[in-house]
Amino acid sequence: MLQLEHVSITLGRREVLRDVSLSARAGTLTAIVGPNGSGKTTLLRAITGEIAYQGKITLNGLDVARAKAWQLAAVRAVMAQETQLAFPFTVLEVVRLGLSMGENAGAQDLPQRALAEVDLLHHGARNYQDLSGGERQRVQLARALVQVWNPVAAAGARWLFLDEPVASLDLGHQVQVMRLARRFADAGGGVVAVMHDLNLSAMFCDHLALLADGGLIAAGPPESVLTDALLSTAYNCTIRTNQLPNAGPWLLPQAVAC
């Protein structure tokens, strides 16, 4: 269980997030959505323990602000928006960084299996610095997967926190990565992802949290969040939601009114 109570974040002198309360259960896939600068990534960085905040965030009952790095690392893995490497590590070496000192340490085949999951099985010997942006993202996802390979561990559910996991991927790999996240959640783990693509979010996620201007303006299942009124307010643009047969809401911005 991930729980945020009255979380506010000030970066420099600017209040980036105001009084956000939110919860996500293990076994679900939650997307944080909203326009640029609405505080999505900042919120995720607070949840991962990267930046200071007011209020309270707990993950499986663990107080994120007070937990040790290794305690959090045993419970959740994080994939950042972009990761540059200082030295020419190979793809496999990067993915191996996810092998913790604990339960996964002996499982030397995990990195290869994780690479297979992101469609990079035969790229293990390549230099990470030579990869394209989308390939790097998939390598980082594989590294995160290795860290929390079993969605449910003895101590409780594990979590994946993903910052725009599909931002630089092609259509095929977008769906592949979202399916991967979906399967992780279906197997009992929790996934929280910052997403730009509302349609992919609607297709794959159980819950959406809509941020606008530093505040949470709606949270719930896609049908309740992706409404014309809420989206038009959040994105400051007239948006019309459609229904596709056998699928969730589907939306297109009305360009004329933007």
Partner: protein, 356 residues
């Protein structure tokens, strides 16, 4: 997630580790070879064959015994120790700064130590006689070590706010501190007399000439723990290559790791500069060569750097003390002549240097 059982391919990536392991063995052999050759090389004309035969018969002349036990052996030990310390310090700093061109010389340890030494050389005569006698010949090394240590602590204070060390601030502060130390050093050089100037020149270029068991005893307690324990930081250093935030996400206590690295570098570099003066480029060249040949994994990089650094410095010292024999070239000149082109080559190869 049973469905996650797809490929099981171990072939790729393992080759680099195998190469690194092979490199470790090759470097041990190299260090042994260089050591043996070094023991048989010197201005006294006491060769390896002489040593070997006399050693077998137990008939080493008293003069040669002194040369072997009190000159060549401590000098070899010092060369191995300092070379390893410089190379490991370089690898640690580069890992911390996530930049292959970072070096203890850049972040002010070298400049601080240099200032300490110059202060001792130029103003040491002003000390009350009692204190000066206490220090004896150790005044310059002790001052250099204290200067390096002080510079590192000051730098760390400057770059750390609220428990967070900014690498960018540390680099910039290091440059400023280096310039300041250089200016003060300049004033002192201006004040120095002829004899002091000779000392300064010699010291600033680095040398193992004064090596003896006493100096070794000064440096060993500071350097040996760093060499032995730095491989324990390998996993953290590897994770740090992803950036501090992501290293923390992997479970690394990043702030503590950074403090340990800074402490280790201050100890190893400070002690090296204190007993051997300013010897450049080992800290940059050695880790870089190893990263090219066997990859950046710190598990192998740190021990391999210690071995290669030790061999290179002993080799450079052999050149330094034979090329103009019976006189001696400062070893810093040898390492600079060999190392500077390599440094430039690294610079040219890396068009887009990693930002900090």
């Amino acid at each position: 997630m049973a469905s996650f059982a797809l490929g099981r391919n171990h072939s790729s990536g393992g080759t680099r580790e195998a190469r690194a392991g092979l490199m470790l063995r090759a470097l041990i052999v190299l260090a042994l070879l260089v050591s043996v050759v070094s023991l048989g090389t010197g201005a006294a004309g006491l060769g390896l064959a002489d040593l070997f035969q006399a050693g077998l018969r137990g008939t080493l002349a008293p003069r040669d015994q002194v040369i072997f036990w009190n000159i060549r052996l401590p000098r070899l030990a010092m060369g191995l120790l300092i070379g390893a310390a410089l190379a490991v310090s370089g690898a640690l700093m580069q890992g911390l700064f996530r930049n292959p061109l970072a070096d203890p010389g850049i972040v002010g340890v070298g400049a601080g130590a240099g200032l300490g030494a110059v202060l001792a050389i130029v103003l040491g005569g002003l000390l009350p006689a009692g204190i000066a006698v206490q220090f004896g010949g150790h005044l310059v090394p002790v001052a250099a070590f204290l200067g390096g240590w002080g510079a590192t602590l000051l730098l760390y204070r400057l770059a750390t706010r609220g428990g967070h060390t900014s690498v960018a601030n540390m680099l910039l502060a290091g440059i400023a501190l280096g310039a300041l130390a250089g200016a003060v050093t300049g004033i002192l050089v201006y004040l120095a007399d002829d004899r002091q100037l000779r000392d300064l020149t010699f010291w600033s270029m680095g040398s193992l000439a004064g090596a003896g068991w006493g100096k070794l005893a000064t440096a060993l307690p500071l350097i040996l723990p760093v060499l032995v324990f730095s491989p324990l930081m390998a996993r953290g250093l590897n994770a740090l290559a992803l950036g501090e935030a992501q290293a923390a996400h992997l479970g690394i206590e990043v702030e503590r790791l950074k403090q340990l690295i800074i402490l280790a570098v201050a100890a190893a570099t400070g002690a090296s500069v204190a007993v051997a003066g300013g010897i450049g480029f080992i800290g940059i060249v050695v880790p870089h060569l190893l990263r090219i040949s066997t990859g950046p994994n710190h598990r192998y990089l740190l021990p391999n750097a210690a071995l290669l650094g030790a061999s290179l410095l002993v080799g450079a010292d052999m050149i330094a003390r034979t090329i103009v024999a019976p006189a001696e070239l400062p070893i810093g000149i040898v390492t600079a002549v060999l190392g500077a082109p390599v440094f430039l080559w690294i610079l040219m190869r890396r068009q887009g240097l990693v930002g900090i």
